[in-house]
């Protein structure tokens, strides 16, 4: 008998925990509120089933506890009831699947005005590349990566010359402008995840994967790697700053393009050679 009370307490406790929990999802900062809505719908339907089944079970525990000589129902089957339950469950499942798939369809179809942004993952940090003035990212190959070409951009591809290289782990985005994240990895699986944006996808070496979102709230957001990638996985953090137009342009101006990068390197090279010559003369 008192077992029933403890089970009841567990169910009531679960409901209370859910209602009063201080641990709830982060404030959403992107357009993917539909994901949150689908979760809420799932809570109503799924949570409703959980509570209903458990309460029914608890009721049975109270009402049908063992009594010598109790009249027990002997009914091997009740096909009608089973069919009704199957139909109701199927409807419930469909009610979850339909909106879910509609939103999934939105997730995989990038809006045409989204800006491509390459996120390059490696053990254990992040780098970024923006398409520059021509709006196109230059093609790249991992075998081209070296100190002179940290992103492995193909030197014959003109589109790559004006690509903006961001070697720090801080990416800035403009608010209310959709972006398509193109994920690349140079070594193992990683995943570029900002909880406030909700969206994520693995970065797979040998492939380019993608997802899109539209940030709509200014602020600083932490990036968490969300696919186990070795011993540094938990430390593979970065920062995304969502700026208004003005601040974004200010930040963009300070970034260097691939051509700038090469030029600076060449400049350093020329300086080095000159220095070496001077040193040689002095000896």
């Amino acid at each position: 008998m008192h077992a029933g009370f403890i089970f009841l307490a567990v169910i009531v406790g679960s409901i209370l925990f859910h209602v009063f929990t201080p641990w709830w999802w982060t404030d959403i900062a992107s357009n993917w509120g539909a994901m949150d809505d689908t979760i809420v719908l799932t809570f109503w339907i799924g949570g409703g089933v959980f509570i209903a089944v458990c309460l029914f079970m608890i009721y049975c525990v109270f009402k049908f506890s063992y009594k010598e000589g109790r009249k027990v129902e002997y009914k091997p089957e009740d096909n009608k009831l089973e069919i009704i339950l199957t139909v109701v469950t199927t409807l419930g499942v469909a009610a979850l699947l339909a909106p879910g798939l509609i939103v999934w369809n939105q997730y995989i179809n990038t809006p045409p005005n989204a800006i491509n942004i390459e996120v390059m993952a490696r053990q254990w940090g992040w780098q970024y590349r923006l398409p520059g003035e021509d709006g196109k990212l230059g093609t790249s190959n991992i075998v081209n990566i070296n100190d002179q070409n940290p992103f492995g951009i193909n030197l014959d591809d003109q589109n790559g010359r004006d690509d903006i290289l961001i070697q720090s782990d801080e990416l800035h985005l403009k608010t209310n402008r959709p972006v398509k994240i193109l994920l690349r990895s140079t070594d193992v699986l990683h995943n570029f995840y900002v909880p406030q944006f909700r969206a994520k996808m693995d970065a797979v070496p040998g492939l380019i994967t993608y997802y899109w979102f539209e940030p709509n709230k200014e602020g600083d957001y932490e990036v968490l790697c969300a696919e186990y990638c070795g011993i540094g996985h938990y430390g593979m953090r970065a920062k995304v700053v969502v700026d208004n137009e003005e601040n974004y342009e200010k930040w963009l101006e300070q970034q260097e393009t691939f051509s700038d990068f090469i030029a600076t390197l060449n400049g350093k090279e020329i300086k080095k050679i000159k220095l070496a010559k001077i040193n040689n003369l002095n000896e």
């Binding site: 077992a3 999802w25 506890s65 009914k75 699986l189 969300a226 938990y234």
Partner: protein, 612 residues
Amino acid sequence: MSDDFYKNKTSIEAQPSRTISDSSGSVSDIDYVKPAEVSDQDLYHGHSFITKWIFCQDAKVIGIQYTLTAVFTGIIGLILSWLMRLQLGFPELVPFITAEHYYQFVTMHGMIMVVYFLTALFLGGFGNYLIPLMTGARDMVFPYVNMVSYWMFFVAVLVLMASFFVPGGPTGSGWTLYPPQAILEGTPGSGAGIILMLVSLALFVVGFTMGGLNYVITILQARTRGMTLMRMPLTVWGIFTATVLALLAFPALFVSVIMMSLDRILGTSFFMPTILKAGEILEYGGGSPVLFQHLFWFFGHPEVYIVALPAFGIVSDLISVHSRKNIFGYRMMVWAIVAIGALSFFVWAHHMYVSGMNPWFGFFFATTTLIIAVPTALKVYNWVLTLWRGNIRMTTVMLFCLGFIVTFVNGGITGIFLGNVIVDIPLSDTYFVVAHFHMVMGIAPLMVIFGAIYHWFPLVTGRLLDEKLGKWHFWFSFLGAYSIYFPMHYLGFIGVPRRYFEMYDSPYITSAVGLNQSITIAALIVGLSQFIFIFNIVKSLRMGKPAGKNPWKANSLEWQTPNVPPAHGNWGDKLPVVYRWPYDFNVPGAKEDYIPQTTPPSEVLEAKVEKT
């Protein structure tokens, strides 16, 4: 409420069939059962200590061997979980747990619990002991191969444990062993550790194929007279379907293990794309990491049903016996088990929604995953409808069944969250997933395992486990485990990723410090409370109340053996004859509230039996 549960009741002996034929040649006989199609099994009898207890071909001994080995590995897995929780809850307290060690604990804990503990215990432990007894066979069809299967499992466990002691330690790649990281430096144990893991898995698959063939063919071809497929207890149906899944799903694991071994040892590139590491392009190239994921999850998803289906079958029988009522909707329960088993081969990529596979697959797999929820829900309804208008005995066994229902429905519902592809996007690789699979695969089947042990201990040992200690064990385990995993879902909602050694100073994650600490404390309490169970077993082995024959007054065949515990050959001279299904509880008109499967109709003429 008098409790006459422990009084010895006279057993109802099985009667041979009687044939009455009249002069016209037509036969009318209510006790008629088809004659034997095959001759009685010719068993090997061990005579030395070694052939009776070590290299023994008796499925009951083999079942106990599997159980003991699986439980041993489970205890190791449990200890590893304590170490992991200590690091997550109180990182300053345990500086000896480095990131490297932590990931090795995570990996070994996962692989041990899923494969070496749960699968081995359900199929090797319960399967071996119960299948011949419940189907009326004397033993498995090929006892020699059955014996070899256990020793292969034993060697696989040894190889796995050996990986703790090799240079570099065991693999720390996560139980999912994803390439390229699993075999590259930067992941712990990428030297010898991963190789031993792969070898151990290959041995495990070979051994379980040998065992699985035995379970399947014994159920299909070696049942006793009168035991039709639809008179088998749901325990047998659950283990049977799970074994079929194992035979068809383990090949994918085996193939992925072979290919990863070749990638690691010979430098092939099945799964390895071009990789830049520490400034150098490695020798690999052209391979596909996603291919491994497809192969692994083609195995991995049926694997969770290999764990779940025996639990479904067993819990149906436990609920039925302890509420003195037939399982509601037996036929639908059978079909649901088979449907779930079949569908489980079509849902694997719901583990890969964010893997970078073709996004259009998301539509297909979300649909199939949510479809599989329907037969599963039906089973849940039927379990609670079995309680409805029953006569429920609040034994320890029944408590564990109720605990199973609560935790399984909870875990199953969170599975619906994750199966709906768009909902999986924010939640994947967070603690929501960890909470989900622990609830549905750890706690719920574990409730069934405990309940099953309390239920069948009297058959295996002839003694009952202590009920009071059992109830303490239940409440600690159920309430404790629920307090670990229910709140953990909310860590996932905040966005805390899984497989994080440390949370650092992330502003919102630090808000969860208190939650992590309380989860750790609950985990340690639940872990320690298992000593109540171990103490109960050791104590009851010597001093437990003698159970006598069929103390729970159950109907299924395993309780109708002439000896308790059952002797070699199970049935003595005469194989049992079955006349009815195992759920004739409280049949109107019958004298007792149960009618064993071996009771012929002529002995219960007054009972208004509806289903046979």
